[in-house]
C-alpha cells in the first residue's frame, strides 16, 4: 500500500535524473566500446607497424581466431573449469563451517576469508611462484619426505596455473555460498530431525538444494575472471600453458593486431554473456551481488 501511494506521488523524472549520470558513464564506457570492439573485429589491418585499420566487414579475423587459437580457448575453459571445481571443493565446506558453527564469530571469519585478498593480486601470485618453485619450500618438503621424485616440478605446469587461478578467485566462491547458507532457517533442520531424517539426509534434502543458487553464483563469479585471466598463466605457467587472455593481450598490445584481438575478445564475451543471460533467466541477478 505505502509503496503504491508513494510511487503515484513522486514525479516521474526524479528516478531518471538520479540514474542518468551513472548510466551515461556506463553506456559511454561500457556499451559504446563494445560496438567499437565489434567494428574493429570486422576490419582489416592496413599497416602492421602502426596497426592502422580499415573497416570492410571482413570475417577473416574470426576465421583466424578459431583456426589459430583453438588450443588457447580450450585451455582457458579447461583451466577455468578445473579451478572452479577446486573452488567448490575447498569453498563449500569452509562456507558451511562459518555459517553453521561460526556463531558470534561469523562476521570475523568472513573478514578472515577476504583479508588475504587485500594484498595485491600480482604480489600474491608472485608469492605462489616462489612457494611452488623447484627449490621452493613446498617441493623441498615433499622431496625431503620422498613423496615425489627429485625432478618433480610444479611451476610452469598446468597444475600451477590452475592452482593459482583457484587461489585467486576462491573468495568469489566462498562469499555467495556463505550468503545462501546463512539465509537457511535452522528450524528446518530441527524439523527434519524431528521427522527422523539423518543429518546426512537433512543436508542432502534441505541444505544442499537451498544453497545451490550460491554455488551457481560462485561458479559464474569464479569461472568468468578465471577464463579471461592471463596473469596466472604468465607468472606460474610456461609458453605451453598460455590461455586466451594471453593471446588477446599479446595480439593487442604487442603485435598491434587489433582486428584479431578484437575478434578473440568478442568470441570470449559472446560465450560468457550467453552463459550469464541463461543464468539470469533462471536464477535472477540478485545472487551475483554479494
Amino acid at each position: 500500500m505505502a509503496e503504491q501511494d508513494r510511487s503515484t506521488r513522486t514525479r516521474s523524472w526524479v528516478p531518471y535524473s538520479l540514474l542518468s549520470p551513472g548510466l551515461v558513464w556506463l553506456v559511454l564506457f561500457f556499451g559504446v566500446p563494445m560496438l567499437f570492439l565489434a567494428k574493429v573485429s570486422l576490419s582489416t589491418r592496413k599497416n602492421r607497424f602502426t596497426g592502422e585499420l580499415g573497416f570492410d566487414g571482413n570475417l577473416d579475423n574470426y576465421q583466424t581466431a578459431f583456426n589459430q587459437f583453438g588450443p588457447q580457448f580450450a585451455r582457458a575453459f579447461l583451466y577455468a573449469g578445473a579451478a572452479t571445481v577446486i573452488c567448490i571443493v575447498i569453498g563449500y565446506p569452509l562456507a558451511y563451517f562459518i555459517a553453521r558453527y561460526g556463531g558470534s564469530w561469523r562476521n570475523r571469519l568472513v573478514g578472515l576469508v577476504v583479508l588475504p585478498f587485500f594484498v595485491s593480486y600480482l604480489i600474491r601470485t608472485l608469492a605462489w611462484q616462489n612457494i611452488l618453485a623447484d627449490e621452493g619450500p613446498f617441493l623441498s618438503i615433499l622431496k625431503a619426505l620422498h613423496l615425489v621424485g627429485q625432478d618433480f616440478a610444479l611451476l610452469n605446469t598446468p597444475w600451477a596455473v590452475i592452482g593459482g587461478l583457484a587461489y585467486n578467485f576462491l573468495p568469489f566462491m566462498i562469499l555467495p555460498i556463505y550468503v545462501s547458507l546463512e539465509k537457511i532457517d535452522l528450524r528446518l533442520l530441527d524439523a527434519a530431525s524431528d521427522l527422523y531424517a539423518s543429518p546426512s539426509a537433512a543436508f542432502r534434502e534441505i541444505v544442499l538444494p537451498l544453497s545451490l543458487p550460491g554455488v551457481f553464483a560462485g561458479t559464474l563469479l569464479t569461472f568468468i575472471p578465471a577464463a579471461g585471466d592471463f596473469v596466472n598463466a604468465a607468472l606460474l605457467g610456461s609458453p605451453k600453458t598460455t590461455m586466451i587472455g594471453t593471446v588477446v593481450q599479446d595480439q593487442f598490445l604487442v603485435q598491434l593486431n587489433f582486428p584479431v584481438a578484437a575478434a578473440l575478445a568478442f568470441i570470449l564475451m559472446t560465450i560468457i554473456t550467453a552463459a550469464v543471460l541463461i543464468y539470469a533467466r533462471f536464477l535472477g541477478t540478485e545472487g551475483l551481488t554479494v
Partner: protein, 267 residues
C-alpha cells in the same frame, strides 16, 4: 556422537582452508624481512630490518604506489556518487526500464576484464586519445559504478522509505528529509562500497594494463618487476596495505558498534 565427529572433521578442514588462504600472505610478510642477493627477492638469505627502515627506497615503486593511490581516490569519489544515486533510484522508485538498468549494472561485472580492457583500448584508439591517468580513471570509474550501485542496493534493501514521508508530514522539504533522515541511515552501506571500490581500483591489473600509458600503476610496476627484479620493498608496501586494511576494518567495526549502541540507547 556421529554429529560431533562430523563437526570435528569439518573444523579441521576449515583450519586447513584458512591456513591455505594465508600461506602466501605469511610468505610475503616473511620475505619483507629478507636481505636478497641480487635483484630478485626469491631465496631466503638473512633477516634484516633494512627494508622496513626504508620502505620507500625504491623510487619507481613508490611513484607507482602514489600514482595508484591518486587514481583510486579520484575514481572512488566519482563512482561512489554515481553508483549511490543509481542504487537510491532503483531501490526507492518504480520506473520503466528497471530490467534494462539491472542488466547494464551486472554486465560490466560479468564481462571478463580482458574484454573490458580491450574494448576501452579500441575506443581510445579510435578517438585518438593518449592513454594515461585520465583513461585509467575512466575505466576504473566504469567498473566501480556497477560495483558501488549493486553493493549499496544490497545494503539498503528493506530500508523503510516511509521515514521520509514522515519527515515530509512534519514539514521537511524533500531535500532536508533526505539529508537528515535517509542519508545517515544508508551511509554505512555507502562507506563500505566506497572502501571496497577503492581497494579494487588500487589492485586492478588487467583493465589497467590496456588503458595505461607509459607510467606504471603499482600492480603494473610489480608485473614488470617479475621480469626485471623484485625489490623487497614490494613486500613491505604490500604488508603496509594489509595493515592499513586491518586498521580500517577494525575502526569501522568499532564505529558500527557505537552507532548500534547509541541507536539502541535512543530507541
Amino acid at each position: 556422537m556421529r554429529r560431533s565427529w562430523g563437526r570435528t572433521l569439518l573444523t579441521g578442514y576449515a583450519v586447513i582452508g584458512f591456513l591455505y588462504l594465508f600461506t602466501p600472505i605469511f610468505f610475503i610478510i616473511a620475505f619483507s624481512f629478507n636481505k636478497p642477493k641480487g635483484r630478485f627477492n626469491l631465496v631466503w638469505q638473512e633477516f634484516t630490518l633494512d627494508n622496513w627502515a626504508d620502505p620507500f627506497a625504491n623510487q619507481e615503486l613508490t611513484d607507482a604506489m602514489l600514482y595508484s593511490l591518486r587514481i583510486a581516490s579520484f575514481s572512488t569519489v566519482v563512482a561512489t556518487i554515481l553508483g549511490s544515486l543509481i542504487a537510491i533510484a532503483v531501490s526507492r522508485y518504480r520506473f520503466k526500464g528497471g530490467a534494462v538498468v539491472d542488466l547494464l549494472l551486472v554486465l560490466p561485472l560479468t564481462t571478463p576484464e580482458i574484454v573490458l580492457g580491450a574494448s576501452l583500448a579500441t575506443l581510445f584508439l579510435d578517438w585518438g586519445v593518449d592513454k594515461g591517468a585520465i583513461t585509467i580513471w575512466i575505466a576504473h570509474v566504469m567498473f566501480s559504478v556497477s560495483f558501488v550501485a549493486l553493493t549499496v542496493k544490497a545494503r539498503i534493501r528493506g530500508f523503510d522509505w516511509s521515514l521520509e514521508d514522515a519527515a515530509a508530514d512534519l514539514g521537511a522539504s524533500p531535500m532536508r528529509a533526505f539529508w537528515t533522515v535517509t542519508f545517515p541511515l544508508i551511509l554505512p552501506g555507502i562507506v563500505a562500497a566506497a572502501l571496497l571500490s577503492f581497494a579494487i581500483s588500487l589492485d586492478d591489473f588487467i583493465i589497467t594494463f590496456f588503458t595505461a600509458g607509459s607510467r606504471n600503476t603499482f600492480p603494473l610496476q610489480v608485473f614488470g618487476g617479475s621480469r626485471n627484479g623484485t625489490p623487497p620493498q614490494i613486500n613491505v608496501l604490500a604488508t603496509m596495505v594489509l595493515l592499513v586494511t586491518i586498521g580500517i576494518i577494525g575502526l569501522s567495526a568499532l564505529w558500527t558498534a557505537r552507532r548500534e549502541r547509541s541507536q539502541a540507547g535512543s530507541a
